[in-house]
């Protein structure tokens, strides 16, 4: 099947929903491709709509969601535009390749789940808005490949979608304000959070910063989490890390330690938490850059060290007709993603509005806040010291820290692409999505942060999703 529209949107999270609605309401014919089965993306992930539900359930889905009313509003407009035939919604499909054609873009898709029966669709569009979001960024530590270790956002997603917990006794570790809703969500669902370990020391700065950036709502959110932590007696330990996940065939405990501002372990501060069945790690987020990179957009390193796309005042990338919104322009949360999506959708519907259009001031405020957040929650400079030579870095191909150090020292492999060819790190099923950032750091060397070139090498993936031979062969026709 194929679909031809004015504007194609990839992703139906906060950014993609907003972009689709804005473009459709500005008069464009829109197609939305999303790997998920229902709109919402990561942030507004909710119970499956396939199960029979009542109006009260839809409100209940909003439990624990910030901005749920924003979702309900966007969703109502999205559904209305679908009924009016302005939006073609293509759920359950993953874009595995995006190409530029003579006068626009072509997207090739494959079902996210083979058994779900969604047939592949080819989408042709004059303009393209990419809103693919991101995923939890990971730093390896000894034992992180044991079952029971999950991405922090993965735990959140699990609870939101399934209404159950993946275990009983949790330790959450990493850095960033996002660890707070994860822990609060676990406790509200009835799980025991033994500790939240935050590697940096953000103390009293949050309220001031939120006010100074002009986003007072963020201070309120912080206060809500503080209240939830007090209610559930969740210990929040700053300047602390998990140095090792304990267990033989599954996680059963963690070893922790206090660290100095560079992330070096303070001797004598080690402590063991036993009787843990889920360990959640999150070190910020990695934007999904493969589609923007494959289309050749100009990129830059953001304050959190992530590779992101460069956009102008109307969210247009360096590629004419290609707009970016949400995490791929810089990790900044759902509110910013919606604002960017609205701007991108409107711009894609009317590339030449005839009059100058100024970006909403709120976008700049939220970006400032996000930058300050990233600076307050850096990836600790000394994190590579936490590894032992036999710590797994690439989970798919089982490449260890020792293998990578050897390739760097003996073979001079300093960027992700040469590491890949010497060690196979990043060559497995996930194509380096999970280990890409860590491998780039290890290639740069102890205490070093990777450059944009190395990260772009990691985001360069021949296919944005695994596809069958049949789909590849069909390209020949």
């Amino acid at each position: 099947m194929s679909v031809t529209v004015d504007v194609a949107v990839v992703g139906a999270g906060p950014a993609g929903l907003a972009a689709a609605v804005a473009a459709a309401e500005a008069g464009a014919r829109v197609a939305v491709v999303d790997a998920g089965n229902q709109p919402g993306g990561q942030f507004w992930r909710h119970a499956p709509e396939t199960v029979q539900r009542q109006a009260a359930d839809v409100q209940a889905d909003g439990h624990g969601h910030h901005g749920w009313n924003t979702y309900l509003d966007l969703r109502a407009r999205f559904d209305a535009a679908q009924h009016a035939g302005r939006i073609t919604y293509l759920p359950g499909l993953q874009v595995w390749m995006a190409e530029r054609s003579e006068d626009g873009f072509v997207l090739r898709t494959t079902p996210a789940v083979a058994s779900a029966g969604a047939a592949p669709v080819t989408v042709t569009a004059d303009r393209l808005v990419l809103c693919p979001g991101g995923y939890d960024r990971q730093l390896p530590v000894p034992g992180w490949d044991l079952p029971g270790v999950l991405a922090a956002g993965g735990i959140q997603a699990f609870i939101k979608a399934n209404g159950v917990l993946p275990g009983k006794r949790f330790v959450i570790a990493g850095t960033g304000p996002f660890l707070l809703p994860v822990a609060a969500g676990i406790a509200e669902a009835g799980g025991k959070v033994l500790a939240v370990l935050e590697s940096s020391a953000p103390s009293a700065w949050l309220p001031h910063l939120a006010a100074a950036s002009g986003v007072p709502g963020k201070a309120l959110e912080g206060a809500e989490y503080a209240a939830a932590f007090a209610r559930h007696r969740i210990p929040y330990r700053t300047r602390s890390i998990v140095t090792e996940v304990l267990g033989s065939d599954r996680a059963s405990g963690v070893r922790t330690a206090r660290v100095d501002p560079a992330g070096r372990v303070r001797p004598g501060t080690e402590r063991v938490y036993g009787d843990v069945d889920v360990v959640g790690f999150g070190w910020g987020f990695t934007p999904q850059m493969e589609l923007p990179v494959s289309l050749g957009v100009e990129t830059r390193l953001d304050a959190d060290g992530s590779l992101v796309g460069v956009v102008d005042d109307r969210q247009q990338s360096s590629v004419p007709g290609l707009y970016l919104a949400g995490e791929v322009t810089g990790v900044g949360g759902a509110t910013l993603a919606v604002l960017e999506g609205l701007a991108a959708g409107a711009a894609a519907a009317r590339p030449d509005p005839g009059v100058p259009v100024k970006p909403p001031a709120a976008i700049a405020r939220h970006r400032r806040f996000a930058q300050a957040m990233h600076q307050a929650h850096p990836v600790p400079a000394a994190w590579q010291d936490w590894l032992t030579p036999d710590t797994t870095v690439c989970r798919c191909e089982e490449v260890t820290a020792g293998d990578i150090t050897e390739a760097r020292e003996d073979l001079g492999a300093r960027d992700v692409r040469s590491l890949k060819s010497f060690t196979r790190a990043g060559m497995g099923w996930c194509q380096g999505r999970v280990c890409g950032f860590a491998a780039a750091c290890l290639g740069a060397g102890p205490g070093e942060a990777p450059g944009a070139g190395s990260l772009a090498g990691s985001a360069k993936r021949p296919l944005a999703a695994p596809v069958g031979i049949g789909e590849l062969a069909a390209l020949d026709g």
Binding site: V51, Y135, G154, C430
Partner: protein
């Protein structure tokens, strides 16, 4: 939410799950945390990213290999196998 339970099989054993749950959730909430071994080290794997990015959670669903357990929704009679 009050979903009807469905029955699936995991490596031949019957397992009860809530309708609409993912296969990964059905397994993990029954205490099954690993259902695959790595090729090289034979290490156990189950859910990790939870959102379809890491491919750690691969299972065979009704004969279809390499499906992500965190994305596939359970349905009555579904046959799930580890690898």
């Amino acid at each position: 939410m009050n979903p009807q339970p469905v029955t699936i099989t995991f490596d031949g054993r019957p397992l009860t799950a809530a309708a609409g749950q993912s296969v990964g959730a059905a397994l993990a909430s029954q205490g099954v945390t690993a259902w695959r071994s790595t090729r090289k080290g034979g290490r156990p794997r189950g859910l990790f990213c939870g959102i379809g990015v890491c491919f750690d959670c691969l299972v065979t669903v009704d004969g279809e290999t390499n499906q992500r357990a965190c994305l596939v929704e359970v349905c009555e009679g579904m046959e799930v196998e580890g690898s």
